[in-house]
């Protein structure tokens, strides 16, 4: 089956179980939004898919099993995870940050120039800061850099954890516009954790409500 298919996913931290059997699917070109209260397990779900926390159950991307692999291996299978913190490399320049993104690809040095050009069409603001250490960028710029770095990897599945957190409202809607454009042009499957429900639903094809580590509801686009 193509796309992401998650069944009976259980995960937690040490003895604390956070996810109790999550079923979720994201088809070709789909944007899926995870909604729900803090502590429901949304972030843990993304972490389980990118290998940051161990998980049981099954998760496949285009039929390839993801669980039980190391994060770098999952990244090389086409999963890019932009964490809440963003995780840009502060001392490295903006350009170097973007270049690191290519290490999830089979040939990290081939076609990087095209990839960078592609990133700049979505985030033109980054171009002015190419030689600047990422640590000196504003919060919004760092977020864009983190997403840009993920795009350089040409991911099949992009996991975005609260991409608009801490951004001013006009920036938020602009970022969602960009996310939408990326999805349309690149065909990237996306799973987005977002508290800003209205903005998220505008671009989502499907929304899951996560509560206490379980899926408590599912809405398809045509029904909201």
């Amino acid at each position: 089956m193509s796309g992401l298919d998650v069944r009976g996913l259980r995960a937690g931290y040490g003895a604390a179980r956070v996810l109790h059997g999550v079923d979720l699917a994201a088809g070709e070109n789909e944007i899926v939004v995870l909604l729900g209260p803090n502590g429901a397990g949304k972030t843990t779900l993304l972490r389980a898919l990118s290998g940051l926390v161990g998980a049981r159950g099954a998760a496949t991307l285009d039929g390839v099993a993801l669980l039980g692999r190391a994060p770098d291996e999952i990244a090389r299978l086409g999963v890019a995870h932009v964490t809440q913190e963003g995780g840009t490399f502060g001392p490295l320049t903006v350009e170097e940050n973007l270049r690191v993104g290519a290490y999830a690809r089979r040939r990290p040095r081939r076609g990087v120039a095209e990839d960078l050009a592609r990133v700049f069409t979505y985030f033109p603001g980054l171009q002015a800061h190419l030689g600047q250490p990422a640590g000196t960028l504003s919060g919004g710029e760092q977020r864009m850099l983190a997403i840009g770095r993920a795009l350089v990897a040409r991911p099949r599945l992009l996991l975005l954890d609260e991409p608009t957190r801490g951004l001013a409202p006009p920036l938020r809607s602009r970022l969602f516009g960009t996310i939408h454009a990326i999805n349309r042009h690149e065909g990237t499957i996306m799973i987005i954790v977002e508290h800003n429900v209205a903005a998220a639903l505008e671009v989502a094809h499907r929304a899951y409500l996560v509560e206490s580590g379980r899926i408590a509801g599912l809405r398809e686009r045509r029904r909201w």
């Binding site: 840009t88 490295l92 990897a153």
Partner: protein, 285 residues
């Protein structure tokens, strides 16, 4: 007399610089202050001695030793440090390297005994200054190569990424484990150069690098713990000041020489906490 002292200082300084560079590399790329760095270098120096003693020419033994040291660094990371890196706090990591220090030291004493051995100089009959020139000739290219790799290659890029944020590097597809092992290997190889450079001056014994480690920490702190050129400059400065102070300041003499780098550390930390060449952290709040 002064020129002679200066050369000797530079010769010792090149050795300190190499070990300081090894410390800085390990620190920058793995976030660990490796107290066993000097002992790994000592072990490599014994390997070099063994090779030369069994008839291998000095200049052939040197690259073999560096290669062995590289492997030893990789193996140490993969077998020992790997187990604590992800799970432990900084204190545990430091304690682990101190454990390594004691273990490696004991292994060397067990295999080669703690007898003093004379280490061959590549130019046994030359004047003392020659060893300093040799030291510079060996150390220079090594340091240059490291700088080149770190600044201008893909490997250097991923190493710096891993140093900045290992988790994000992993999420970007970087094989962090390999990078860390390579970092330990490279640091250990450079440390071996330090041991081989200093052994003709110090005599070979299991504790030969103990004092050197103190000097090299001083050098690394002086230059800035995260700066490779700083480590080199720091090493040379410490080597020269220590030698000159030991000779010209009557109250220092041979006994108080080891205090000189400590005074330097304190002075630098008071005036410029990030070291002479180190970078103050740049992070926008």
């Amino acid at each position: 007399m002064f020129g002679q002292q200066l050369l000797e200082g530079l010769g010792a300084g090149a050795g300190y610089a190499a070990l300081a560079l090894a410390l800085v590399l390990t620190y920058r790329f793995t976030g660990i202050v490796n107290f066993a760095q000097g002992e790994l270098a000592m072990l490599a120096t014994y390997v070099a001695w063994q090779l030369v003693d069994s008839g291998m020419p000095y200049w052939a033994a040197l690259p073999v030793t560096v290669a062995v040291a590289f492997l030893a660094g990789v193996v140490t990371e993969r077998t020992v440090m790997r187990r604590v890196e992800d799970r432990a706090g900084e204190l545990t990591l430091v304690a682990t390297t101190i454990g390594l220090y004691v273990t490696v030291n004991a292994i060397a004493a067990l295999v080669w005994t703690s007898a003093l051995r004379a280490f061959p100089s590549p130019f046994p009959d030359g004047p003392a200054g020659v060893s300093a020139l040799v030291a510079a000739c060996v150390a220079g290219p090594v340091l240059g190569a490291v700088a080149l790799v770190v600044r201008h290659t893909g490997l250097g890029l991923v190493m710096r990424a891993v140093a900045a944020d290992p988790r994000s590097a992993r999420l970007s597809g970087v094989r962090v484990g390999r990078v860390l092992a390579l970092g330990w290997g490279a640091a250990s190889a450079i440390g071996a150069v330090s041991g081989v450079l200093l052994a003709p001056i110090l005599f070979l014994e299991p504790t030969m690098m103990t004092g050197v480690l103190v000097y090299s920490f001083a050098a690394a702190t002086l230059g800035g713990l995260d700066s490779a050129p700083g480590a080199v400059a720091g090493g040379l400065i410490v080597g020269v000041t220590e030698t000159l102070a030991g000779t010209y300041l009557g109250f220092v003499g041979a006994d108080l020489k080891i205090a000189v780098p400590l005074v330097l550390i304190v002075a630098v930390l008071l005036l410029r906490p990030q070291g002479l060449f180190g970078s103050a952290p740049v992070e926008r709040a």
